[in-house]
């Protein structure tokens, strides 16, 4: 039986003490154990950033790629071997900034990967520039008069793009987040879990306490994840009350389902065909 210990990495964790990333890491481990997956059965792909260091702090197969480019790597890996269980850890800058185009198109592909965005609303690893999800007007070292772009709403965007699994978690509620990850991995198709994550070093606004006061579980309010319009309305709810949970879920054919050549099984396992002109 796989246990959380199996996922413990010897590699020294490099995050700041108190960072929300730790909660996400623990929730991932718990979810993988719940799913009964062993470390060698899991591939975690990431980009570059604090969030993207996650796979080093787990024991599993890992591809820690370029800033912004985790999703295309995951797509390629799935094309090659769709038997893989692929999770992607990305940051708000990684995924919605540098990697924004891949995010849009990964949703369209409905690729069967679980995308966990560590949304700390800041560029952590590069020391505190605004990210796409930073609030309009938030001052940073490089935006001393505050940011001048409107904050990006990942949940609304994913819904508008047609995502089949859209959820929000909070790093401060590990059990709930673990449940979301389990549901995301079980969902056949692209699953987005945007995680509210305090950055103790660079985001003085969205602290653990700030979130703690505001978040609530949608499940407790009779939200129907099959209702797209309700999900869209919830995705836009922010401020005093911030919904957590699965906003939307819809089962539809995945990318792999739609490719005839993959009916015979993962490409990597298909027999070679001798070349003939």
């Amino acid at each position: 039986m796989v246990t959380v210990d199996d996922y413990r990495s010897d590699f020294e964790n490099e995050w700041c003490p108190g960072c929300g990333n730790f909660g996400i890491l623990e929730a991932m481990k718990a979810a993988l154990v719940t799913l009964g997956l062993e470390p060698h059965q899991v591939l975690v792909v990431s980009g570059i950033g604090q969030a993207a260091k996650t796979p080093h702090f787990l024991r599993c197969n890992a591809f820690h790629g370029l800033h912004g480019r985790a999703l295309p790597v995951a797509t390629g890996a799935k094309l090659a071997n769709h038997a893989l269980t692929v999770l992607v850890n990305s940051g708000d800058g990684d995924c919605y900034g540098e990697g924004g185009n891949h995010f849009m198109h990964a949703v369209r592909r409905n690729l069967d990967v679980t995308l966990i965005v560590h949304d700390n609303r800041i560029y952590g690893l590069t020391k505190g520039q605004a990210s796409p999800t930073s609030d309009l007007g938030m001052p940073t070292r490089i935006q001393p008069e505050g940011t001048v772009s409107e904050g990006f709403n990942p949940l609304a965007a994913a819904l508008a793009l047609g995502a089949g699994f859209v959820a929000r978690g909070f790093s401060g509620d590990k059990a709930h987040l673990a449940d979301l990850i389990v549901a995301g991995v079980r969902h056949k198709g692209f699953a987005l879990i945007d995680v509210l994550q305090p950055c103790v070093s660079f985001n003085p606004i969205h602290t653990h306490g700030w979130y703690k006061q505001r978040v609530f579980d949608l499940a407790g309010e009779g939200h129907d994840p099959g209702d797209w319009s309700a999900a869209m309305a919830r995705s836009r709810q922010w401020g005093d009350r911030i919904p957590l949970g699965i906003l939307y879920e819809e089962q539809k054919p995945t990318f792999i389902d739609r490719i005839g050549a993959l009916e015979k099984g993962p490409l990597i396992d298909q027999a070679a065909v001798e070349f003939a002109l």
């Binding site: 370029l66 480019r69 090659a80 070679a272």
Partner: protein, 570 residues
């Protein structure tokens, strides 16, 4: 000099001149001639001016010839554009071939004949018939070709085209034309007709490439289109990515997960892939990238040809790492090069780049059958190959720099890779010791990589003067050498397919003892610069063409005459 005819068909995009070209090419090739068909078209879908230049000969031809024997002008501008290249006893065939001396023009009411045969759009087939009549091709043979060409579109289409062909053919079979090919129509075809494009795609499947990811970009799209059409026969998926960055990263992902993967693009797309090239390098993930060159900078001339990316692809991406760069000179070599590129990329776990160009990709060549590709060896290990899978380290230091490569989720061995520099187990490290170890490890591959590089191909290497070239300019250079030698000059040629790691020793031996001139389609003479960087030897001159059209042998001959300060060759 044996048989050598050039037929140019010109018209607007949308007039179906490609069909004419294909019919002529198939008819001539089917009768045993050597054929080359070069496409020349603008970056638009309808209108403008495009042409196909067909060369028919009794010896292999792989470069176009300027002198036109038969010009088929499907619109008035085509006549104007090409007339100056008409040979002395050349003929213009057109609806209304005006302004030319008696005997040099043949006016045929192509459109009207087409209408009579079933519709205005058949004018191209009428023209094809007229050409074949002039060339002296046997009628039955031609009918078979027309039938084959349209078979897939149903009987009605076949019949109308046969009618159109017949009308054209009948109108010219007895016309006077000095270029008529009197004999040789009764042989069986030599090899097959093939686009350069296709030879690249076939090489990829022969190497067991299973994932192709790309973003459309001329002149590379054809490669991926061919690959897509092969995906029914082989275990292969071709995915159109949202951009070139995604395409390149998908290739890395697919390769990391365990199948051979490639992308093809042109320079602009390659620019966007340069970061991923470094990703493949530091994660030591095999990756094959085809760069189909066109003139730049930037969008440049999207549908024209160039050889301007050599230095770029050798140096692309920040910092340094070993890579392979190849530039095949023929479809046969392209096929083999793709097979080698996949093998070497996987064997050494480094990226391999293959340079082709628009001329090569979009031309039809007479290709000899490819030899059966060697058995694919994957250079991959599994748990069974390890004493202790739990101790597996993806970047284990070895004598030759190549670490045994396992795949993720294919056993108990965990595979960890990172774009940051790392320890042997793949986890991040910034220590000086680990960094030095990894830099040394990556570069330790160079000697064995170098040993795999083939020396350049030579033609009369003993000559007093050498023309040095690479990629698809080989054909024109080879032909130029023949011409020059026929004129009594002691000239030879050197063609580099394997360009990086650069075979400096072989180059040094060739170039140290006599003058040499580079022939390439770029401004600065990049091969010359490369040779000098690697050997210190300086070319006596350079012959370049940068206007987007492929070399003619005759301009190389002329270029040599103009090369200043060239001493030596008699």
């Amino acid at each position: 000099m044996g048989l050598d005819r050039t037929i140019v068909i010109g018209g607007e995009a949308g007039q179906g001149i490609q069909t004419v070209g294909q019919l002529l090419a198939a008819a001539c090739h089917g009768a045993g001639f050597e054929v080359l068909a070069v496409n020349d078209f603008e970056s638009r879908i309808r209108g403008g001016h495009s042409s196909i230049g067909l060369r028919v000969a009794d010896r292999p031809v792989s470069a176009p010839c300027r002198r036109i024997d038969l010009l088929v002008a499907l619109d008035a501008p085509s006549e104007a554009v090409h007339r100056s290249d008409l040979s002395e006893d050349g003929l213009v065939l057109a609806d209304r071939a005006a302004g030319l001396a008696e005997g040099r023009a043949l006016s045929l009411p192509l459109e009207q004949m087409a209408r009579e045969a079933g519709g205005k759009i058949l004018a191209n087939t009428v023209a094809a018939g007229a050409c074949l009549g002039l060339l002296g091709a046997p009628e039955d043979h031609c009918r078979r070709i027309v039938r084959q060409q349209f078979e897939a579109k149903g009987d009605e289409v076949v019949d109308r085209n046969i009618a159109a062909f017949t009308a054209g053919y009948a109108a010219t079979r007895n016309a006077a034309f000095n270029g008529r090919i009197q004999a040789g129509w009764d042989r069986s075809p030599r090899g097959r007709l093939m686009e350069g494009n296709l030879s690249v795609a076939l090489g990829a499947v022969a190497a067991d490439c299973r994932v192709g990811a790309f973003y459309p970009m001329s002149p590379a799209t054809g490669i991926m289109a061919h690959l897509a059409s092969l995906s029914g026969r082989y275990p292969l998926v071709v995915e159109q990515a949202e951009d070139e960055i995604a395409a390149a990263n998908m290739v890395v992902g697919a390769s990391f997960a365990g199948v051979r993967a490639m992308t093809a693009t042109s320079g602009g797309g390659f620019s966007l892939m340069t970061e991923a090239l470094g990703l493949a390098a530091i994660t030591e993930t095999p990756m094959v990238v085809v760069d189909a060159m066109r003139p730049g900078p930037a969008t440049g001339l999207p549908t024209r040809t160039a050889q301007g990316d050599l230095n770029f692809v050798i140096h692309a991406s920040q910092d340094e790492f070993p890579r392979f760069v190849f530039a095949p000179g023929s479809p046969e070599q392209a096929f083999e090069t793709m097979v080698r590129a996949f093998d070497l990329s996987e064997r050494f776990q480094v990226p391999a780049i293959v340079l082709v160009d628009q001329f090569f990709n979009d031309s039809l060549f007479t290709v000899t059958d490819f030899p059966p590709p060697p058995k694919v060896v994957r250079h991959i290990i599994g748990d069974a190959d390890m004493a202790d899978p739990a101790a597996y380290r993806r970047f284990a230091v070895t004598a030759d720099g190549v670490s045994p490569r396992a795949l993720p989720c294919r056993g108990k061995a965990l595979v960890v890779a990172a774009s940051d520099d790392h320890r042997e187990d793949g986890h991040l490290s910034e220590t000086m010791a680990d960094r030095r170890k990894m830099v040394a490890k990556r570069f330790a591959k160079l000697p064995a990589m170098m040993a795999r590089m083939r020396p350049p191909e030579t033609l009369h290497p003993e000559a007093d003067l050498l023309l040095a070239t690479w990629g698809s300019s080989r054909g024109a250079v080879w032909e130029a050498v023949e011409t020059l030698r026929e004129a009594g000059r002691s000239v030879g040629a050197v063609h580099f397919c394997d360009l990086w790691p650069f075979p400096a020793e072989a180059a040094g031996e060739l170039f140290a003892t006599r003058p040499w001139v580079t022939v390439e389609q770029n401004y600065s003479g990049q091969l010359g610069r490369l040779v000098r960087e690697q050997t210190g030897l300086k070319p006596a001159g350079r012959i370049t063409r940068t206007d987007g059209r492929p070399f003619f042998a005759e301009e190389i001959v002329a270029g040599l005459k103009e090369t200043k300060g060239l001493k030596g060759p008699k």
